[in-house]
Amino acid sequence: MALQSLDIKRRSATTTPSPQARETLEVAKLIDVSACIGCKACQAACMEWNDIREEVGTNVGVYDNPNDLTAHQWTVMRFDEVETDDGGLEWLIRKDGCMHCEDPGCLKACPSPGAIIQYSNGIVDFHEENCIGCGYCITGCPFNVPRISKQDGKAYKCTLCSDRVAVGQAPACAKVCPTGAIQFGSKEKMKEYAETRITDLKERGYDNAGLYDPAGVGGTHVMYVLHHADKPALYHNLPKDPTISPTVSLWKGITKPLAMAALGAAALGSLFHYVMKGPNEVSKELEDEMEREDERLRALEKENAK
């Protein structure tokens, strides 16, 4: 088996269970939005550790740079200027990227065995060598995270530095964050730490401060501390109650085996119909009638030829 810290818990397009005897610690990254200063050190560290460089783009009038996630940019700082009720301004900065859902929509939608896997520590990882580039992961994702590369047609996203985590290191972004806004550890520890942050924020007047660990996707292995946890949409449209879309569940759920069974029954039913009822043949009576007609015409022809 692979490194214990990379034991595979779930595998895309696989109908039998993955090895489950060993249990590893569930990990999580905690992003404390209230402590983020928007320096983008995390973006730089991500590019450096993963050896990815997005091409230099153009400024579109916001601080987001590049202005979206790409196959070469697995995390992006999202800057939102929000007007408060009393006419003030709040600058909300959210580090966007894969949320590493406990119930990943990408993995559910993926048709290629082993292209998307979930480690027992909770990290959801793409194995690009098995990726066929269909983009179903994008269709399945509730957070609009995966991107197809224009270079090689494969899907990419944040790996939560699974390679670093496998050997007991924190993800590059967490390691480099100068304000401690990105923490990494066991999911339990991160929740405990979040509580202290939320208490602090509440004391400072943020009554709605809270943890973003949405239950609709079984919780996530990237969590946020938000000062306005009641309005996650303020943070660049972070969904309030994300779930795998019911359309995707219908597409990937029980309907598939049922449809397969129905088609199998149609094929087998046809065979047994043939065997039990016999073919639908032309009646002997009609065949004889046509044969007599043929003979009559042949005789007539001979007569005319004389």
Binding site: A13, T14, T15, P111, S112, P113, N130, C131, I132, G133, C134, G135, Y136, I138, T139, N144, I148, G153, S245, T247, V248, L250, W251, T255, K256, P257, A259, M260, A262, L263, A266, A267, S270, H273, Y274, K277, G278, P279, N280, E281, V282, S283, L286, E287, E289, M290, E293, D294, L297
Partner: protein, 208 residues
């Protein structure tokens, strides 16, 4: 075997070629599509070179099929208008499946079942082509909500069409003397008189 010169032509060469282009495309699309439909069929991707090649080729084959299916539809649509006798035929289809066609009403070039199949495939092809284009990320970008609905409809239309084609193929095998019509174009007079008597009378002028 020398064919009887009195056999009746049911399909000309161009119609036959058209049908088989569509048929070959359908088989390739069903095999590649099933590979993505359920993991049990994923090994079918090996028939197309690799899983990634299967993903690349599937939509292009779809375009070829859509074009040739459209031509075929225009060719055969008029012959497939539903008439009263088709409804009578459909009401009695149970007897026919049971092996007794003595009470079946007289049929033109196509019987009620064939016409239902034709319009079913027209519906299926329309849905599957439109949704397939919407899912084609290499060329088309639409909102994810649209892609999600398209993905469900695409899969459902595919199952619907594979089901219809299983019926179509089986009906051709079950009804002896039928497949040759699509292979070299002719059927025997006896076949025509038994299965499509009105059409038989129309093409032969035989009043009986």
């Amino acid at each position: 075997m020398i064919r009887n010169p009195r056999d009746i032509q049911r399909y000309n060469a161009s119609e036959r070629a058209n049908h088989w282009v569509v048929g070959i495309c359908f088989i390739l699309l069903a095999l590649s599509g099933l590979a993505f439909f359920h993991p049990a069929f994923f090994p079918l991707t090996q028939l197309f070179g690799s899983p990634t090649w299967t993903r690349i080729l599937h939509p292009y084959i779809g375009v070829v099929m859509a074009v040739f299916f459209l031509i075929m539809t225009l060719r055969f649509a008029r012959l497939n208008y539903i008439a009263q006798r088709d409804i009578e035929w459909l009401k009695r289809v149970g007897e026919m499946v049971n092996g007794d066609d003595h009470n079946m009403p007289e049929q033109g070039k196509y019987n009620g079942g064939q016409k239902m199949l034709f319009w079913g495939l027209v519906l299926g092809m329309s849905l599957i082509t439109i949704t397939g284009v919407l899912m084609w990320r290499s060329w088309v970008t639409v909102p994810v909500g649209v892609i999600r609905v398209a993905s469900v409809v695409h899969a459902a239309a595919a199952v619907f069409m594979i089901g219809l084609i299983i019926m179509h193929v089986y009906a051709a095998i079950w009804t002896k003397g039928t497949i040759r019509a699509m292979l070299y174009g002719t059927v025997t007079r006896a076949w025509a008189k038994q299965h499509h008597r009105a059409w038989y009378r129309q093409v032969t002028g035989d009043k009986r």
